[in-house]
């Protein structure tokens, strides 16, 4: 039988399970490729 404390810790680990975003490459410094500029309202506004 799994000890109660271990079971609770396992549940907690499941809840906090890292996902692919957590495993992605870290970027602290990201130089902007391009300065902001007013563009058409019809252009996509989310990358």
């Amino acid at each position: 039988e799994m000890p109660a404390q271990m079971a609770a810790q396992l549940e907690s680990s499941l809840l906090n399970c890292p996902d692919s975003l957590d495993a992605d490459s870290p970027y602290l410094y990201r130089k902007q490729l391009s300065l902001p500029h007013p563009t058409s309202i019809f252009f996509p506004n989310e990358p």
Binding site: D19, S20, L33, S34, S40, F42
Partner: protein, 188 residues
């Protein structure tokens, strides 16, 4: 150790008997969807999957992860175009950076257009694509160009034309040909 031991695994219709073992581990499950989520195979070809493995669980693989990559020094020193001491990788002026953008392939222009909204480079790529006879469809939010092999038929009211066009699909990242009814006020 004999055959009777397998009965609970075989007689699945009888819950009392079948519940003796957890079938999810013993009999397992159809692995097709798990393999599909892993990308095995991809486009009918066997490709390595571990180098882009997002997470052990499909549920926590919500996004792509950056694989190992290496940028050779020669890519980092193309003067006047990409990145060098004199020309850092940024596009901040419509006037100054137009000729740099003219050197990019169509797909690079599409990438920059969709990746950097509300910036100078989005405007620059828009202008360059137009020069190459691509037009941006305001509702579809996609780029299209005329199929050179077919002449479209203009509608009597002159507001639209029906013809064959090459679209660039940003989701599938490929050009595809479609027959389409094009309204002139929908494109820019």
């Amino acid at each position: 150790f004999g055959l009777k031991a397998l009965v609970p695994l075989v007689r699945q219709g009888d819950p009392e008997v079948a519940s003796k073992y957890d079938h999810s581990m013993a009999l397992g499950a159809d692995l097709s969807s798990m393999l599909h989520s892993l990308g095995i195979p991809r486009d009918s070809k066997r490709q390595a999957v571990l180098a882009t493995f997002q997470s052990p669980w499909a549920e926590t693989s919500r996004s792509e992860v950056e694989p190992t990559f290496y940028i050779p020094a020669s890519f980092l020193g193309i003067d006047e175009v990409l990145q060098s001491e004199s020309t850092p990788p940024c596009f901040d002026s419509v006037q100054r950076d137009q000729q740099r953008v003219a050197l990019f392939q169509d797909e690079t222009l599409f990438y920059l257009f969709y990746k950097h909204p509300g910036t100078v480079i989005q405007e620059l790529t828009y202008l360059e694509l137009r020069k190459r006879n691509w037009r941006y469809h305001k509702t579809l939010k996609a780029w299209l160009t005329k199929d050179p092999t077919m002449e479209p038929v203009v509608s009597p009211d002159g507001l639209s034309e029906r013809g064959s066009y090459v679209f660039f699909d940003p989701q599938r990242w490929e050009k595809c040909q479609r027959d389409f009814l094009l309204f002139y006020n929908a494109i820019m």
